[in-house]
Symmetry: C2
Subunit: 370 residues, 2 copies
Amino acid sequence: MSTADNRKTVLDPWGTTVVEDYNRLYEEFGIQRFKSLLAEIPNPSMYMRRGVIFGHRNFESVLENMKRHEKFAVMSGIKPTGEFHLGTLMTAREIIYFQQQGATAFYCIADIEAYEDNKIPFEKSEKIAVGNVADLLALGFDPKRGYIYRQYKEQRVRNLAVLFGRSVTLATMKAIYGERNIGLYLSALVQAGDILMPQLEDFDGPKPTVVPVGIDQDAHLRLTRDLASKFRRKFNFVSPSSTYHKIMKGLDGSPKMAKRNSMSYFTLHENPESIAKKISNAFTGGRPTVEEQRRLGGVPEICPIYEIEMYHFVENDDDVVKVYNDCRSGKLLCGEHKARTTEIVLNFVKDHKRKRRKFVDKSREILQVA
Amino acid sequence: MSTADNRKTVLDPWGTTVVEDYNRLYEEFGIQRFKSLLAEIPNPSMYMRRGVIFGHRNFESVLENMKRHEKFAVMSGIKPTGEFHLGTLMTAREIIYFQQQGATAFYCIADIEAYEDNKIPFEKSEKIAVGNVADLLALGFDPKRGYIYRQYKEQRVRNLAVLFGRSVTLATMKAIYGERNIGLYLSALVQAGDILMPQLEDFDGPKPTVVPVGIDQDAHLRLTRDLASKFRRKFNFVSPSSTYHKIMKGLDGSPKMAKRNSMSYFTLHENPESIAKKISNAFTGGRPTVEEQRRLGGVPEICPIYEIEMYHFVENDDDVVKVYNDCRSGKLLCGEHKARTTEIVLNFVKDHKRKRRKFVDKSREILQVA
């Protein structure tokens, strides 16, 4: 398929992010298509069914153990720079999904990265992490079958980083991260430690491990897979697997939700009026006039309102298909869709906040924060 | 003074290493001459008196506290890659000297550096360190007024390294260390952590700290002094001080003792025959024939035999001056001088080994090695 073909609007309820050229990822970077494994997955998640998770590396080894009820792990985390938003929500739900499928779950508070990359002092990221972990627990993470930790306090991760350092050249780091401070490179080694720690003897030894991340994180996986192979003799590492989800568009029509652009995203903990306003002001796939929209239909594939609903807030696939069809047929107008989505989001947020309150103490206990 | 002038043989019992252009260090790198402080030092060490320690940075702040009996620290260490040799002996004695003058003494086992730079696994460096620390204790280090630790196990040092990472650019690292693996850069940050750890609250807070090292280590000091200034607001660091000793010539006439060249140096724990042979085969400042030497005298300034004696093995300054004069006058021939030096060295080694045996258990206890 040519690039031009790939970029045209596709008639597919799961076909958002039409502007991205995912084919290049398959061809140039060796990422595998997730779709071809979908039928084999016993109980695929919403993200999997809808193509939000579109690619993977070596997911077969995880799938095999999942099906055989043999040990496997899921590992991902959060950079504690602020409150949960739809991106961190997605990762959290992916981890919880795999935990529910039998994985030992690892959730990393990437406070070293938050410091080296974003200059967040550890005293501050510690406080932020308490909220983040309360969110995770409220979403259903089971701490009894999982391990939540801070990079700065986890010596096993730092020990691995020290070991790995010898095998990573400056050229590799520059290729991945550009010319950065040395701390940023150090945090990349720490991240490789995060991904491989689940395979240490302390955690029941080598095992397939899936790292669910946004496609923008693939470079870390390539670095870590390379290190797993270099240190195989010492640790008997299984090469880590990954799944890749698409990156959400900004509400304001920008290519991605970004912290520096506050109208492009919302957090689960900003006030409801602010969330409602951002949705109300959002870019959509609507037409310039009501008359045109009734006649031509909307374009859900380019619409962030449709996207957040489909990605996060509607459980039933048929309901999503109905929204898609109603939009394309011109039956559902943007104003009504925005009002409905606002209601769904605010209900979710209200319910989530209520649950989360109960987990703050537990979160402090887990993170050993006074 | 022109370079040519500076390189000619100087008539001075302490004037070895005539081939080095130390003036450049003073002029270009801002290293201060140690000689100008010598008169103020209450009880100068052998190395100080003889100009083996020839330069410093900011030693005044240490000296002031030394004289006033106020707190100060001495910090240096060893890369655990093998047994003690004359270079590590020198550093150990420098630390012990400052400890005896009232400093809290820190001795670092640089096992992270040994791994990143020399690929020594931690399991191996741990064993090597047991011997090194037994040497240090046998030489007179008092563990009750000092702290001996391994980088890999000392979290305070690693925490500092993580903090410092953000403030060190790739350009700085490349300027100091060239294009190396990322682990080597990491070990440089750890080393800055070593130098500044004595000033943490856990060790009674900010204080002047002297780091006695070979002149080849100055870049680390410049890096660390820069970091001390960048993190002054957070930790209230006093800028660390350093003293610089000259680098010993190789026994075989090479510019420095080097591990890859086994005839250039000996360890305190190789067998006496091997030490005797290396001394016997050594390059000297002698003349081609006995007749010429009687007539013209030897050149102690270029002689490694004279150097090891003057640096390490003769306590009394007058005795060294006598050797110097006897050599220059042609009275002392190289064969006799070598035989005498061999005897002195072997006696020292024998005596030291005997003492050291008693400290091996204590060393294991300090390093927590089973």
